[in-house]
Protein backbone atom coordinates (compact mmCIF):
# COMPACT_ATOMS: atom_id res chain seq x y z
CA UNK A 1 0.00 0.00 0.00
CA UNK A 2 2.88 2.30 0.79
CA UNK A 3 6.22 1.83 -0.82
CA UNK A 4 9.18 4.00 -0.05
CA UNK A 5 12.22 3.49 -2.22
CA UNK A 6 15.62 4.97 -1.49
CA UNK A 7 14.09 8.18 -0.26
CA UNK A 8 16.52 11.01 0.42
CA UNK A 9 15.59 14.53 1.43
CA UNK A 10 18.10 17.32 1.81
CA UNK A 11 17.49 20.79 3.19
CA UNK A 12 20.42 22.63 1.69
CA UNK A 13 23.44 21.02 3.30
CA UNK A 14 21.39 19.11 5.89
CA UNK A 15 20.41 15.59 4.93
CA UNK A 16 17.24 15.02 6.91
CA UNK A 17 16.36 11.64 5.42
CA UNK A 18 19.04 9.44 3.94
CA UNK A 19 18.25 6.57 1.57
CA UNK A 20 15.24 5.26 3.42
CA UNK A 21 13.28 2.29 2.07
CA UNK A 22 10.38 0.39 3.58
CA UNK A 23 6.96 -0.89 2.65
CA UNK A 24 3.68 -1.02 4.49
CA UNK A 25 1.11 -3.68 3.64
CA UNK A 26 -2.58 -2.96 3.28
CA UNK A 27 -4.29 -2.76 6.64
CA UNK A 28 -1.10 -2.62 8.61
CA UNK A 29 -0.13 -0.10 11.29
CA UNK A 30 3.48 0.91 11.08
CA UNK A 31 5.14 2.76 13.92
CA UNK A 32 7.75 5.32 13.06
CA UNK A 33 10.09 5.74 15.92
CA UNK A 34 13.09 7.97 16.39
CA UNK A 35 14.60 10.66 18.57
CA UNK A 36 14.05 14.37 17.86
CA UNK A 37 15.36 15.43 14.50
CA UNK A 38 15.52 11.86 13.20
CA UNK A 39 13.60 12.71 10.05
CA UNK A 40 10.16 11.33 10.86
CA UNK A 41 8.24 14.46 9.99
CA UNK A 42 10.31 14.96 6.85
CA UNK A 43 9.56 11.43 5.64
CA UNK A 44 5.88 11.93 6.30
CA UNK A 45 5.87 15.23 4.45
CA UNK A 46 7.29 13.53 1.40
CA UNK A 47 4.75 10.71 1.67
CA UNK A 48 1.87 13.16 1.81
CA UNK A 49 3.10 15.10 -1.19
CA UNK A 50 3.82 18.23 0.84
CA UNK A 51 7.34 18.33 -0.54
CA UNK A 52 9.11 16.34 -3.23
CA UNK A 53 12.02 14.05 -2.32
CA UNK A 54 15.57 14.99 -3.32
CA UNK A 55 16.06 11.42 -4.49
CA UNK A 56 14.12 8.21 -4.56
CA UNK A 57 10.38 7.84 -4.71
CA UNK A 58 7.31 7.06 -2.68
CA UNK A 59 4.26 5.20 -3.88
CA UNK A 60 1.08 5.61 -1.89
CA UNK A 61 -2.08 3.64 -2.67
CA UNK A 62 -0.61 2.72 -6.04
CA UNK A 63 0.26 6.27 -7.11
CA UNK A 64 3.62 7.93 -7.15
CA UNK A 65 3.20 10.93 -4.85
CA UNK A 66 5.36 13.02 -7.12
CA UNK A 67 4.07 12.05 -10.55
CA UNK A 68 0.38 11.72 -9.70
CA UNK A 69 0.03 13.87 -6.63
CA UNK A 70 -3.72 14.45 -6.84
CA UNK A 71 -4.55 10.75 -7.04
CA UNK A 72 -2.26 9.98 -4.14
CA UNK A 73 -3.55 12.88 -2.05
CA UNK A 74 -7.16 11.88 -2.61
CA UNK A 75 -6.37 8.59 -0.87
CA UNK A 76 -4.27 9.97 1.94
CA UNK A 77 -5.25 11.55 5.23
CA UNK A 78 -2.56 13.48 7.05
CA UNK A 79 -2.30 14.78 10.56
CA UNK A 80 0.72 17.11 10.62
CA UNK A 81 2.80 17.66 13.71
CA UNK A 82 0.91 20.88 14.44
CA UNK A 83 -2.77 20.36 13.61
CA UNK A 84 -3.51 22.69 10.68
CA UNK A 85 -6.46 24.59 12.11
CA UNK A 86 -7.83 28.01 11.22
CA UNK A 87 -8.25 29.85 14.51
CA UNK A 88 -11.20 31.94 13.33
CA UNK A 89 -13.33 29.03 12.22
CA UNK A 90 -15.51 26.94 14.45
CA UNK A 91 -14.77 23.23 14.49
CA UNK A 92 -17.83 22.53 12.38
CA UNK A 93 -16.98 25.25 9.84
CA UNK A 94 -13.46 23.95 9.68
CA UNK A 95 -14.49 20.38 9.01
CA UNK A 96 -16.99 21.59 6.42
CA UNK A 97 -14.19 23.42 4.64
CA UNK A 98 -11.93 20.37 4.79
CA UNK A 99 -14.75 18.20 3.44
CA UNK A 100 -15.09 20.55 0.49
CA UNK A 101 -11.44 20.64 -0.47
CA UNK A 102 -11.19 16.87 -0.06
CA UNK A 103 -14.19 16.42 -2.35
CA UNK A 104 -16.45 14.67 0.14
CA UNK A 105 -19.81 14.42 -1.68
CA UNK A 106 -22.11 17.28 -0.64
CA UNK A 107 -25.06 15.14 0.44
CA UNK A 108 -22.81 12.96 2.57
CA UNK A 109 -21.02 15.85 4.17
CA UNK A 110 -23.07 16.67 7.26
CA UNK A 111 -23.46 13.06 8.21
CA UNK A 112 -19.78 12.31 7.76
CA UNK A 113 -18.76 15.32 9.82
CA UNK A 114 -21.15 14.39 12.62
CA UNK A 115 -19.88 10.87 12.52
CA UNK A 116 -16.25 11.87 12.65
CA UNK A 117 -16.87 14.29 15.52
CA UNK A 118 -18.46 11.44 17.44
CA UNK A 119 -15.55 9.14 16.85
CA UNK A 120 -12.94 11.66 17.86
CA UNK A 121 -15.16 12.96 20.67
CA UNK A 122 -15.24 16.58 19.70
CA UNK A 123 -19.00 16.95 19.32
CA UNK A 124 -19.18 19.08 22.46
CA UNK A 125 -16.79 21.66 21.01
CA UNK A 126 -18.37 21.67 17.54
CA UNK A 127 -19.31 25.34 17.74
CA UNK A 128 -16.20 26.62 19.48
CA UNK A 129 -13.51 28.45 17.55
CA UNK A 130 -10.51 26.32 16.70
CA UNK A 131 -8.18 28.99 18.05
CA UNK A 132 -9.73 28.69 21.48
CA UNK A 133 -9.37 24.93 21.87
CA UNK A 134 -6.94 23.23 24.21
CA UNK A 135 -4.00 21.34 22.73
CA UNK A 136 -5.67 17.99 23.13
CA UNK A 137 -8.83 19.11 21.41
CA UNK A 138 -6.85 20.61 18.56
CA UNK A 139 -5.13 17.30 18.14
CA UNK A 140 -8.48 15.53 17.97
CA UNK A 141 -9.89 18.00 15.47
CA UNK A 142 -6.73 17.39 13.44
CA UNK A 143 -7.39 13.68 13.59
CA UNK A 144 -11.00 14.15 12.51
CA UNK A 145 -9.75 16.27 9.62
CA UNK A 146 -7.34 13.51 8.52
CA UNK A 147 -10.00 10.81 8.52
CA UNK A 148 -12.83 12.90 7.09
CA UNK A 149 -12.66 11.71 3.49
CA UNK A 150 -12.20 8.09 4.53
CA UNK A 151 -8.75 7.73 2.97
CA UNK A 152 -7.04 4.39 2.35
CA UNK A 153 -3.86 5.64 3.90
CA UNK A 154 -3.51 7.59 7.12
CA UNK A 155 -0.30 9.35 8.01
CA UNK A 156 -0.30 10.58 11.56
CA UNK A 157 2.55 12.63 12.95
CA UNK A 158 2.53 12.14 16.70
CA UNK A 159 -1.23 11.63 16.96
CA UNK A 160 -1.25 11.34 20.74
CA UNK A 161 1.00 14.31 21.52
CA UNK A 162 -0.71 16.57 24.01
CA UNK A 163 -3.49 14.18 24.95
CA UNK A 164 -4.37 13.18 28.48
CA UNK A 165 -3.86 9.52 29.49
CA UNK A 166 -7.50 8.62 28.99
CA UNK A 167 -7.50 10.24 25.58
CA UNK A 168 -4.30 8.47 24.65
CA UNK A 169 -5.96 5.14 25.28
CA UNK A 170 -9.07 6.17 23.39
CA UNK A 171 -7.08 7.46 20.45
CA UNK A 172 -5.01 4.31 20.43
CA UNK A 173 -8.18 2.23 20.33
CA UNK A 174 -9.54 4.44 17.59
CA UNK A 175 -6.41 3.98 15.53
CA UNK A 176 -6.37 0.25 16.11
CA UNK A 177 -9.99 0.08 15.03
CA UNK A 178 -9.08 1.82 11.79
CA UNK A 179 -6.45 -0.73 10.84
CA UNK A 180 -7.66 -3.32 8.41
CA UNK A 181 -9.63 -0.87 6.31
CA UNK A 182 -6.88 1.69 6.46
CA UNK A 183 -3.16 1.51 6.19
CA UNK A 184 -1.57 3.64 8.85
CA UNK A 185 1.82 5.13 9.55
CA UNK A 186 2.18 6.88 12.86
CA UNK A 187 5.18 8.50 14.40
CA UNK A 188 5.76 8.80 18.10
CA UNK A 189 8.30 9.07 20.87
CA UNK A 190 6.18 7.06 23.24
CA UNK A 191 7.48 3.53 23.17
CA UNK A 192 4.63 1.66 24.85
CA UNK A 193 2.45 3.22 22.22
CA UNK A 194 4.16 1.50 19.33
CA UNK A 195 4.34 -1.84 21.06
CA UNK A 196 0.61 -1.67 21.76
CA UNK A 197 -0.65 -0.26 18.50
CA UNK A 198 1.73 -1.18 15.75
CA UNK A 199 2.35 -4.43 13.97
CA UNK A 200 5.71 -3.27 12.76
CA UNK A 201 8.18 -0.65 13.81
CA UNK A 202 10.67 1.35 11.83
CA UNK A 203 13.35 2.88 13.98
CA UNK A 204 15.03 5.82 12.35
CA UNK A 205 17.96 7.83 13.58
CA UNK A 206 19.73 10.75 11.92
CA UNK A 207 17.79 10.12 8.73
CA UNK A 208 18.76 6.46 8.45
CA UNK A 209 16.73 3.37 9.23
CA UNK A 210 18.37 1.38 11.98
CA UNK A 211 15.78 -1.38 12.35
CA UNK A 212 12.52 -2.61 10.87
CA UNK A 213 10.73 -5.39 12.72
CA UNK A 214 7.81 -6.38 14.91
CA UNK A 215 7.95 -5.09 18.47
CA UNK A 216 8.45 -8.63 19.81
CA UNK A 217 11.26 -9.52 17.49
CA UNK A 218 12.98 -6.27 18.15
CA UNK A 219 13.06 -6.78 21.88
CA UNK A 220 14.34 -10.33 21.76
CA UNK A 221 16.56 -10.21 18.72
CA UNK A 222 18.74 -7.40 19.79
CA UNK A 223 19.89 -9.05 22.90
CA UNK A 224 21.56 -12.06 21.26
CA UNK A 225 20.98 -13.90 24.55
CA UNK A 226 18.22 -14.39 27.08
CA UNK A 227 18.47 -13.18 30.60
CA UNK A 228 16.81 -14.61 33.67
CA UNK A 229 16.47 -12.94 37.01
CA UNK A 230 16.77 -15.30 40.02
CA UNK A 231 16.46 -14.58 43.69
CA UNK A 232 18.01 -17.24 45.83
CA UNK A 233 18.20 -17.64 49.57
CA UNK A 234 21.94 -18.44 49.64
CA UNK A 235 25.45 -17.05 49.85
CA UNK A 236 26.33 -15.15 46.67
CA UNK A 237 29.66 -16.64 45.66
CA UNK A 238 28.61 -20.25 46.30
CA UNK A 239 25.41 -20.03 44.38
CA UNK A 240 27.02 -18.13 41.50
CA UNK A 241 29.49 -20.92 41.03
CA UNK A 242 26.83 -23.59 41.11
CA UNK A 243 24.68 -21.73 38.60
CA UNK A 244 27.61 -21.12 36.30
CA UNK A 245 28.04 -24.87 35.94
CA UNK A 246 24.53 -25.40 34.61
CA UNK A 247 24.83 -26.35 30.92
CA UNK A 248 23.73 -23.57 28.58
CA UNK A 249 24.48 -20.75 31.00
CA UNK A 250 26.89 -18.24 29.52
CA UNK A 251 27.20 -15.71 32.29
CA UNK A 252 26.14 -15.23 35.88
CA UNK A 253 26.12 -11.82 37.47
CA UNK A 254 25.08 -10.70 40.93
CA UNK A 255 22.37 -8.09 40.59
CA UNK A 256 21.68 -7.36 44.23
CA UNK A 257 22.37 -8.87 47.63
CA UNK A 258 20.50 -8.32 50.85
CA UNK A 259 21.20 -10.28 54.05
CA UNK A 260 21.28 -13.86 52.96
CA UNK A 261 19.24 -13.30 49.83
CA UNK A 262 21.04 -12.78 46.54
CA UNK A 263 19.67 -11.72 43.16
CA UNK A 264 21.34 -13.06 40.03
CA UNK A 265 21.21 -12.23 36.37
CA UNK A 266 21.77 -15.38 34.39
CA UNK A 267 22.43 -15.21 30.66
CA UNK A 268 21.91 -18.17 28.43
CA UNK A 269 22.14 -18.74 24.70
CA UNK A 270 19.06 -17.59 22.79
CA UNK A 271 16.35 -20.20 22.38
CA UNK A 272 17.74 -22.35 25.14
CA UNK A 273 15.44 -22.64 28.13
CA UNK A 274 17.52 -23.30 31.25
CA UNK A 275 14.82 -22.61 33.82
CA UNK A 276 14.27 -26.24 34.80
CA UNK A 277 17.98 -26.96 35.26
CA UNK A 278 18.47 -23.81 37.28
CA UNK A 279 15.58 -24.65 39.57
CA UNK A 280 16.79 -28.24 40.00
CA UNK A 281 20.30 -27.13 40.98
CA UNK A 282 19.04 -24.61 43.50
CA UNK A 283 16.51 -26.90 45.11
CA UNK A 284 19.05 -29.77 45.06
CA UNK A 285 21.45 -27.70 47.14
CA UNK A 286 18.72 -27.01 49.66
CA UNK A 287 18.54 -23.28 48.91
CA UNK A 288 15.28 -21.49 48.65
CA UNK A 289 14.23 -20.25 45.19
CA UNK A 290 12.38 -17.03 45.93
CA UNK A 291 11.89 -15.62 42.48
CA UNK A 292 12.60 -16.49 38.88
CA UNK A 293 11.52 -14.39 35.91
CA UNK A 294 12.76 -13.70 32.40
CA UNK A 295 14.27 -10.27 31.95
CA UNK A 296 13.25 -9.07 28.52
CA UNK A 297 14.84 -6.06 27.12
CA UNK A 298 12.25 -3.33 27.13
CA UNK A 299 11.58 -1.42 23.98
CA UNK A 300 13.14 1.57 25.71
CA UNK A 301 16.40 -0.33 25.94
CA UNK A 302 16.18 -1.39 22.34
CA UNK A 303 15.48 2.12 21.31
CA UNK A 304 18.29 3.60 23.30
CA UNK A 305 20.68 0.92 22.15
CA UNK A 306 19.82 1.55 18.52
CA UNK A 307 19.80 5.29 18.61
CA UNK A 308 22.79 6.12 20.74
CA UNK A 309 25.77 6.34 18.54
CA UNK A 310 28.15 3.67 19.80
CA UNK A 311 25.39 1.18 20.10
CA UNK A 312 24.28 1.92 16.57
CA UNK A 313 27.61 0.61 15.35
CA UNK A 314 27.26 -2.49 17.52
CA UNK A 315 23.82 -3.21 16.27
CA UNK A 316 25.14 -3.31 12.73
CA UNK A 317 23.51 -6.74 12.09
CA UNK A 318 20.21 -4.89 12.20
CA UNK A 319 21.21 -3.44 8.84
CA UNK A 320 20.31 -6.65 7.04
CA UNK A 321 16.62 -6.18 7.80
CA UNK A 322 16.64 -2.64 6.52
CA UNK A 323 15.32 -3.51 3.09
CA UNK A 324 12.55 -5.94 3.34
Amino acid sequence: MIEVQHLTKRYGPVTAVDDVSFTVERGEILGFLGPNGAGKTTTMRVLTGYMPPSEGKAIVAGYDVFDQPLEAKRRTGYLPETPPLYPDMTVREYLTFVARIKSVPRNDCTKRIGDMMERTRITDVADRHCGKLSKGYRQRVGLAQAMLHNPDVLILDEPTAGLDPKQIIETRELIKGLAGDHTIILSTHILPEVSQTCQRIVIINKGKIVAVDTPDNLTSRLRGSETMYLQVDAQGADAAEALQRVPGVTRVGIADARDSVTGFEVDSATGRDVRRELAAVIVGRGWGLLEMRPMRMSLEDVFLQLTTQDAAAQAAPAEEVTHE
Binding site: T42, G49, K73, T82, L85, F97, S103
Partner: protein, 254 residues
Protein backbone atom coordinates in the same frame (compact mmCIF):
# COMPACT_ATOMS: atom_id res chain seq x y z
CA UNK B 1 -14.03 24.97 -9.91
CA UNK B 2 -15.67 23.82 -6.73
CA UNK B 3 -12.24 23.74 -5.10
CA UNK B 4 -11.47 27.28 -6.20
CA UNK B 5 -14.76 28.50 -4.78
CA UNK B 6 -14.16 26.59 -1.55
CA UNK B 7 -10.85 28.40 -1.07
CA UNK B 8 -12.29 31.77 -2.11
CA UNK B 9 -15.18 31.32 0.29
CA UNK B 10 -12.84 30.39 3.10
CA UNK B 11 -10.66 33.44 2.43
CA UNK B 12 -13.60 35.79 2.33
CA UNK B 13 -15.00 34.35 5.52
CA UNK B 14 -11.70 34.71 7.30
CA UNK B 15 -11.54 38.40 6.33
CA UNK B 16 -14.90 38.95 7.92
CA UNK B 17 -14.21 36.93 11.03
CA UNK B 18 -11.20 39.12 11.78
CA UNK B 19 -11.25 42.91 12.07
CA UNK B 20 -9.43 43.25 8.72
CA UNK B 21 -12.51 43.42 6.53
CA UNK B 22 -14.20 45.99 8.76
CA UNK B 23 -11.11 48.13 9.05
CA UNK B 24 -10.50 48.13 5.33
CA UNK B 25 -14.08 48.78 4.36
CA UNK B 26 -14.48 51.35 7.13
CA UNK B 27 -11.43 53.35 6.13
CA UNK B 28 -12.27 53.14 2.48
CA UNK B 29 -15.78 54.44 3.11
CA UNK B 30 -14.40 57.21 5.30
CA UNK B 31 -11.73 58.37 2.86
CA UNK B 32 -13.93 58.04 -0.19
CA UNK B 33 -16.66 59.93 1.64
CA UNK B 34 -14.20 62.64 2.56
CA UNK B 35 -12.94 63.01 -1.00
CA UNK B 36 -16.50 62.99 -2.20
CA UNK B 37 -17.39 65.84 0.11
CA UNK B 38 -14.33 67.90 -0.81
CA UNK B 39 -14.91 67.39 -4.52
CA UNK B 40 -18.54 68.25 -4.09
CA UNK B 41 -17.69 71.55 -2.41
CA UNK B 42 -15.24 72.36 -5.15
CA UNK B 43 -17.68 71.29 -7.80
CA UNK B 44 -20.44 73.46 -6.33
CA UNK B 45 -18.17 76.42 -6.28
CA UNK B 46 -17.18 75.79 -9.88
CA UNK B 47 -20.73 75.40 -11.04
CA UNK B 48 -21.77 78.61 -9.29
CA UNK B 49 -18.92 80.45 -10.90
CA UNK B 50 -19.79 78.81 -14.16
CA UNK B 51 -23.43 79.79 -13.69
CA UNK B 52 -22.50 83.42 -12.99
CA UNK B 53 -20.13 83.70 -15.89
CA UNK B 54 -22.69 81.97 -18.05
CA UNK B 55 -19.82 80.64 -20.18
CA UNK B 56 -17.83 77.46 -19.31
CA UNK B 57 -19.92 74.38 -18.99
CA UNK B 58 -19.64 72.31 -15.84
CA UNK B 59 -19.48 68.60 -16.27
CA UNK B 60 -20.20 66.39 -13.31
CA UNK B 61 -18.33 63.48 -14.88
CA UNK B 62 -15.23 65.49 -15.63
CA UNK B 63 -15.13 67.61 -12.55
CA UNK B 64 -16.48 65.39 -9.86
CA UNK B 65 -16.57 61.71 -10.70
CA UNK B 66 -13.29 61.44 -12.54
CA UNK B 67 -11.16 63.12 -9.85
CA UNK B 68 -12.92 60.94 -7.32
CA UNK B 69 -11.88 57.79 -9.16
CA UNK B 70 -8.34 59.01 -9.58
CA UNK B 71 -8.07 59.76 -5.89
CA UNK B 72 -9.35 56.32 -5.05
CA UNK B 73 -6.09 54.99 -6.51
CA UNK B 74 -4.20 56.50 -3.62
CA UNK B 75 -6.52 54.93 -1.07
CA UNK B 76 -5.94 51.56 -2.68
CA UNK B 77 -2.19 51.88 -2.27
CA UNK B 78 -2.69 51.99 1.46
CA UNK B 79 -5.53 49.57 1.93
CA UNK B 80 -4.85 46.72 -0.48
CA UNK B 81 -1.66 45.62 1.29
CA UNK B 82 -3.85 45.03 4.34
CA UNK B 83 -5.96 42.66 2.30
CA UNK B 84 -3.17 40.64 0.75
CA UNK B 85 -0.51 40.64 3.43
CA UNK B 86 -1.80 37.66 5.34
CA UNK B 87 -3.06 35.47 2.51
CA UNK B 88 -0.03 33.18 2.29
CA UNK B 89 2.08 34.40 5.17
CA UNK B 90 -0.45 33.46 7.79
CA UNK B 91 -0.98 29.98 6.34
CA UNK B 92 2.74 29.42 6.37
CA UNK B 93 3.16 30.67 9.90
CA UNK B 94 0.32 28.68 11.39
CA UNK B 95 1.04 25.53 9.39
CA UNK B 96 -2.35 25.41 7.70
CA UNK B 97 -0.47 25.50 4.41
CA UNK B 98 0.23 21.83 5.16
CA UNK B 99 -3.47 21.13 4.94
CA UNK B 100 -3.81 22.92 1.62
CA UNK B 101 -0.73 21.42 0.03
CA UNK B 102 -1.58 17.87 1.07
CA UNK B 103 -5.21 18.10 -0.03
CA UNK B 104 -6.13 17.10 -3.55
CA UNK B 105 -5.84 20.67 -4.84
CA UNK B 106 -3.61 22.10 -7.51
CA UNK B 107 -1.52 25.19 -6.82
CA UNK B 108 -3.54 26.94 -9.48
CA UNK B 109 -6.76 26.27 -7.59
CA UNK B 110 -5.34 27.49 -4.30
CA UNK B 111 -3.88 30.66 -5.80
CA UNK B 112 -6.93 31.50 -7.87
CA UNK B 113 -9.14 30.85 -4.86
CA UNK B 114 -7.11 33.19 -2.72
CA UNK B 115 -7.09 35.82 -5.44
CA UNK B 116 -10.85 35.64 -5.85
CA UNK B 117 -11.33 35.81 -2.09
CA UNK B 118 -9.31 39.02 -1.91
CA UNK B 119 -11.16 40.38 -4.95
CA UNK B 120 -14.41 39.63 -3.17
CA UNK B 121 -13.45 41.79 -0.23
CA UNK B 122 -12.19 44.48 -2.57
CA UNK B 123 -15.48 44.42 -4.47
CA UNK B 124 -17.36 44.75 -1.18
CA UNK B 125 -15.18 47.75 -0.43
CA UNK B 126 -16.07 49.36 -3.75
CA UNK B 127 -19.68 48.44 -3.14
CA UNK B 128 -19.85 51.05 -0.40
CA UNK B 129 -19.17 53.79 -2.92
CA UNK B 130 -22.21 52.92 -4.95
CA UNK B 131 -24.19 54.94 -2.39
CA UNK B 132 -22.37 58.11 -3.43
CA UNK B 133 -23.03 57.37 -7.07
CA UNK B 134 -26.70 56.83 -6.40
CA UNK B 135 -26.76 60.24 -4.71
CA UNK B 136 -25.15 61.87 -7.72
CA UNK B 137 -27.54 60.19 -10.10
CA UNK B 138 -30.55 61.23 -8.08
CA UNK B 139 -29.53 64.90 -7.73
CA UNK B 140 -27.76 65.47 -11.00
CA UNK B 141 -27.61 63.75 -14.31
CA UNK B 142 -24.12 62.53 -14.99
CA UNK B 143 -23.33 60.20 -17.85
CA UNK B 144 -23.45 56.58 -16.70
CA UNK B 145 -20.86 55.25 -19.09
CA UNK B 146 -17.71 56.72 -17.49
CA UNK B 147 -19.04 55.59 -14.14
CA UNK B 148 -19.35 51.99 -15.26
CA UNK B 149 -15.98 51.92 -17.02
CA UNK B 150 -14.48 53.64 -14.00
CA UNK B 151 -15.63 50.83 -11.77
CA UNK B 152 -14.36 48.22 -14.23
CA UNK B 153 -11.03 50.00 -14.26
CA UNK B 154 -10.89 50.21 -10.49
CA UNK B 155 -11.61 46.49 -10.20
CA UNK B 156 -8.91 45.59 -12.71
CA UNK B 157 -6.33 47.96 -11.29
CA UNK B 158 -7.04 46.63 -7.82
CA UNK B 159 -6.74 43.11 -9.24
CA UNK B 160 -3.21 43.93 -10.38
CA UNK B 161 -2.27 45.19 -6.96
CA UNK B 162 -3.84 42.18 -5.31
CA UNK B 163 -2.02 39.70 -7.50
CA UNK B 164 1.29 41.45 -6.81
CA UNK B 165 0.44 41.49 -3.09
CA UNK B 166 -0.39 37.80 -3.17
CA UNK B 167 3.00 37.09 -4.68
CA UNK B 168 4.81 39.08 -1.99
CA UNK B 169 2.79 37.34 0.69
CA UNK B 170 3.85 33.97 -0.66
CA UNK B 171 7.48 34.88 -0.03
CA UNK B 172 7.38 35.27 3.73
CA UNK B 173 5.91 33.82 6.89
CA UNK B 174 5.72 37.21 8.49
CA UNK B 175 2.61 39.13 7.57
CA UNK B 176 4.02 42.45 8.82
CA UNK B 177 7.02 42.12 6.54
CA UNK B 178 4.67 41.08 3.78
CA UNK B 179 2.46 44.13 4.34
CA UNK B 180 5.30 46.63 4.45
CA UNK B 181 7.05 45.27 1.38
CA UNK B 182 3.77 45.20 -0.51
CA UNK B 183 3.10 48.80 0.39
CA UNK B 184 6.60 49.79 -0.74
CA UNK B 185 6.21 48.00 -4.04
CA UNK B 186 2.80 49.61 -4.62
CA UNK B 187 4.29 53.04 -4.03
CA UNK B 188 7.06 52.32 -6.50
CA UNK B 189 4.57 51.14 -9.08
CA UNK B 190 2.59 54.30 -8.51
CA UNK B 191 5.45 56.77 -8.90
CA UNK B 192 7.31 54.83 -11.57
CA UNK B 193 6.25 57.11 -14.41
CA UNK B 194 6.72 60.41 -12.58
CA UNK B 195 10.00 61.10 -14.32
CA UNK B 196 8.36 60.26 -17.65
CA UNK B 197 8.20 63.86 -18.84
CA UNK B 198 11.92 64.43 -18.25
CA UNK B 199 13.32 61.46 -20.15
CA UNK B 200 13.58 60.37 -23.74
CA UNK B 201 10.50 59.20 -25.64
CA UNK B 202 11.39 55.49 -25.45
CA UNK B 203 11.98 55.49 -21.73
CA UNK B 204 8.91 57.60 -21.35
CA UNK B 205 6.65 55.13 -23.07
CA UNK B 206 8.21 52.25 -21.16
CA UNK B 207 7.65 53.99 -17.83
CA UNK B 208 4.12 54.91 -18.71
CA UNK B 209 3.45 51.40 -19.79
CA UNK B 210 4.74 50.01 -16.51
CA UNK B 211 2.64 52.33 -14.43
CA UNK B 212 -0.40 50.39 -13.31
CA UNK B 213 -2.18 53.59 -12.33
CA UNK B 214 -1.51 55.30 -15.63
CA UNK B 215 -3.55 52.74 -17.50
CA UNK B 216 -6.49 53.57 -15.32
CA UNK B 217 -6.87 57.09 -16.71
CA UNK B 218 -8.76 56.11 -19.86
CA UNK B 219 -11.28 54.11 -17.85
CA UNK B 220 -12.28 57.22 -15.93
CA UNK B 221 -12.97 58.96 -19.24
CA UNK B 222 -15.43 56.30 -20.21
CA UNK B 223 -13.08 54.61 -22.64
CA UNK B 224 -12.84 50.85 -22.61
CA UNK B 225 -9.67 50.24 -24.58
CA UNK B 226 -8.54 46.67 -25.31
CA UNK B 227 -4.96 47.84 -24.89
CA UNK B 228 -5.58 48.55 -21.22
CA UNK B 229 -7.71 45.50 -20.69
CA UNK B 230 -4.96 43.29 -22.10
CA UNK B 231 -2.43 45.09 -19.94
CA UNK B 232 -4.38 44.61 -16.73
CA UNK B 233 -5.17 40.98 -17.43
CA UNK B 234 -1.52 40.31 -18.23
CA UNK B 235 -0.32 41.93 -15.02
CA UNK B 236 -2.84 39.92 -13.00
CA UNK B 237 -1.83 36.68 -14.69
CA UNK B 238 1.82 37.48 -14.28
CA UNK B 239 1.40 38.14 -10.55
CA UNK B 240 -0.46 34.87 -10.11
CA UNK B 241 2.16 33.06 -12.17
CA UNK B 242 4.94 34.42 -9.96
CA UNK B 243 2.99 33.31 -6.91
CA UNK B 244 2.75 29.80 -8.35
CA UNK B 245 6.51 29.81 -8.99
CA UNK B 246 7.18 30.97 -5.44
CA UNK B 247 4.96 28.29 -3.92
CA UNK B 248 6.64 25.64 -6.02
CA UNK B 249 10.15 26.83 -5.21
CA UNK B 250 9.29 26.85 -1.54
CA UNK B 251 8.09 23.28 -1.86
CA UNK B 252 11.41 22.14 -3.30
CA UNK B 253 13.44 23.99 -0.75
CA UNK B 254 11.30 22.57 2.02
Amino acid sequence: MNNILAIAHKELKSYFSTPIAYIVIGFFALLWGYFFWVMLLYFNQQSQLGGLGGGGSVDMNQQLIRPLFLNATVILLFLLPLITMRTYSEEKRSGTIELLLTSPLTDFQIITGKFLGAMGLYAAMLGVTVIHMVLLFSYGNPEWRPVVTGYIGLLLMGGCFISVGLFISSLTKNQIVSGIVTFGVFLLLWVINWPASFVGPTTQSVLNYLSITDHFDDFTKGILDTKHLVYYFSVISFGLFLTARAVDTERWRG
